[in-house]
Assembly symmetry: C2
Homo-oligomer: 454 residues x 2
């Protein structure tokens, strides 16, 4: 009989994270200061992030030990299962062999707690009282509340107002895990009050929420700011996904030809891909393909430029060299809220610029076509973000059908869609809009990039 | 380091279901015909259920083979993990050792597909076109749509109107798995039209939805009716839970002193408990305790009587001897919709009557107190039904703390609460009502029981 799942024992949970920076010929350049635009030193980040994370951000060490206390929490759901999508292969009638890592088994339902737990641990070690963070639809915020709760820390979440009011379920989950969630803009920060003074009825944005969270963190003793994607240390923490998957693919007796993940800031895709990509960087697997899949509504890698830009709309965070559609670009309201970030993780962008990895973008309806086909064969109803990866897998599997090749495809099934069913409903009813590429809006946003002397 | 999860390989999935009827000194008496009240013969059930299930319903065989095709689908998520609740034990400061079987890993998120898959398989074998069924909040309906989809069958779901409109997420999940869901009462059946003629604005009830589903099944060629709890064959299919748990408890080096499950019709609790209870029935574990936990809003085991009653409000289904608060009793609108059934599985009732198992009932707020404590320690946010089991575990763990005993408690964590977060929200806001025992209403309903000559 077919084997569907490849499962590791708890004792096989990785002991070290993999830091791809150590193997990159050209690592991403240092961050620039948001005001002076000069190269930042690690100490410039001290008011914002815990010390241990600042060290990890700048580290060139290849392997960084995972503290036992972090591994102990990760064991609540890790190692996560690796699935062979045998039913979906059959439904697609493809000779491709499709595998996926299923991150929806974590209590918050996605890969996000892999870094939330590590960040909460280091915050506790540093004697902090809590974290402040922003969240859009709530996937990151719920992961951080889950993690801080376990370490006895507080969590202040600024949730984009429109999501706070329209999508109450993730807010309730955050409160169940002890989080203090307020709609953003709020009256608790100057940044929020300034916005409310101008537009009391604003629906908020991720850019505003980030500004509020950073302000809250730097103005409250014992609080620091927590970020759920983009930066090196977050991608580092996510490499447990790929490190486990390597062992599981060995159990299955296969090695991937193509790796696929959806990418907003890029952490879940990098988490799966980097531990395999090392084989390409050191010359052992020169033909390994890795595809980062973004939303056509926010096409930083496929339509943006590789340049320095602010990480947040309010220009309070570091300036990074990355593929960007401009910090002022407000993407169309696609359901994949996690893919609506204007930039991309600097390490991914460097690899993309060097031709080591690939990127592609999809529109909503083609993405849900694939997610529906997946749900009907494999059972799992995935998040709209994850559905982007699934569309790319679908296309690669169809290419195999065309060519007759039996390629091995591995993708990261990063989270369930239990709180996103309204998107499926719109799709079923033919009410899901596809948005045109917004070239003019992107060009306008790109004109506002900082002028950084290299 | 602590081990949290005990995991079985796919090949260790049970090959046979355990039929407790074979080991009961006094099995439950045969069903009675809904109109004549005479003992029913298996052939009387032919218009309603697939033949193979009718045979299982009446079987006295101890072990019934699980078809390979059913095992192949169950492997999509089974064997499910057994957890040691080490963090919760610590939070409760109890010497008790708490284990739980986690059924929330199935794609529909509960134990329900364990029987839905088997029923869909037998329907396909019999050459049926599809199933009709009823659902309240949608847990059963979504499991059946998931299962029928995989076997290429249709699924017609009559969903209680108020849930259809107020809780769209499970309806959307059913549609994603190809189900045809209509609000009940509907204009598609005579039963539905009759109700609508009298009250076009009715919010519907499970009793009406059952009547519509049965009518639809018997009046549509190629359709039969599917039921998600109460009857012997459903409990039989759920015994994979307990059979797996036995192996996993062996891995953990423990044997339970107390088994606990929530019970509406009783299938998830019986699924966990029966394979262990056999040791008590055959005299090997005389002190083994098993606790079935119901809602105080629908206290069939703790306040009802043991008597013959119709299985459905409209008196179209079989009459069974069971603990009942009366087929006409409409329970208060507690969030645990799955515990709002007026009766209980006949085999559980027989065991309860014979003093072999125990029952208890809880009110909503005490149940959510325990579920919150569980979510904050173990991470998982459980369904309101499951929360009833968790309250009983909490009380037993506290009794151990009092007595200093280190008892081993095993409970069935039957499903996640991702679609039930409104209940948690009401709890957080102190807006969750506790309903008084409705003695007078129960007595009135019990006066309407059928007069069956034994």
């Amino acid at each position: 009989m077919t084997q569907y799942k490849y499962i590791l024992e708890e004792k096989e949970l990785p002991t070290h994270w993999y830091n791809i920076i150590a193997d990159m010929k050209t690592p991403p350049p240092p961050y620039r200061h948001p005001v002076t635009l000069q190269p930042m030193k690690p100490e410039d980040l001290v008011p914002v992030f815990p010390q241990a994370l600042i060290e990890q951000e700048a580290s060139r060490e290849r392997w960084i030990e995972i503290p036992d206390e972090v591994r102990d929490v990760l064991k609540m759901w890790r190692p996560s299962p690796l699935y062979r999508a045998a039913r979906w292969e059959k439904a697609l009638d493809t000779p491709a062999k499709i595998y996926y890592k299923w991150e929806g088994v974590s209590p918050p339902g996605s890969h996000k707690p892999n870094t939330a737990v590590a960040q909460a641990y280091y915050a506790k070690q540093e004697g902090l009282e809590g974290f402040a963070t922003e969240t859009g639809a709530g996937q990151w915020g719920s992961a951080l509340c889950f993690a801080t709760q376990l370490f006895g820390l507080k969590c202040k979440v600024f949730m984009v107002a429109i999501s706070y009011h329209q999508k109450p379920y993730r807010r309730i989950a955050m409160e169940t895990w002890g989080g203090d969630v307020v709609p953003s803009p709020s009256s608790e920060t100057k940044a929020g009050r300034d916005i409310l003074a101008v537009d009391p009825e604003t629906s908020g944005s991720l850019g505003i929420a980030i500004s509020e969270a950073i302000e809250y963190a730097v103005t409250h003793d014992g609080f620091k700011y927590s970020l759920g994607s983009v930066v090196n240390f977050v991608l580092l923490h996510q490499t447990v996904i790929g490190l486990e998957a390597r062992k599981q693919m060995e159990m299955a007796g296969d090695y991937p030809d193509i790796l696929i993940g959806c990418a907003g800031g890029g952490s879940n895709a990098a988490g799966l891909i980097y531990p395999f990509l090392r084989d390409k960087l050191i010359g052992e697997k020169p033909n390994l393909r890795a595809i980062f899949v973004e939303s056509a509504a926010c096409p930083s890698m496929t339509r943006g430029i590789y340049a320095y830009d602010w990480g947040d709309t309010a220009k309070t965070g570091p300036v990074a060299k990355m593929h960007t559609v401009g910090h002022g670009f407000i993407p169309a309201p696609v359901h994949a809220g996690g893919l609506r970030y204007h930039g991309m993780a600097p390490s991914i962008c460097r690899l993309l610029e060097d031709g080591i990895v690939e990127a592609r973008a999809y529109h909503q309806n083609q993405v849900f076509d694939a997610a529906l086909s997946f749900a009907q064969a494999e059972g799992f109803i995935v998040a709209p973000e994850t559905a982007h990866a699934i569309r790319a897998v679908y296309d690669e599997a169809m290419a195999c059908k065309e060519s007759g090749e039996s390629k091995v495809i591995l993708f990261n099934c990063s989270g369930h869609g239990h709180f996103d069913l309204a998107a499926y409903d719109a799709y079923h009813r033919w009410e899901l809009p596809d948005y045109e590429f917004e070239e003019e809006k992107i060009q306008k946003a790109l004109a506002e990039l900082p002028q950084v002397a290299e």
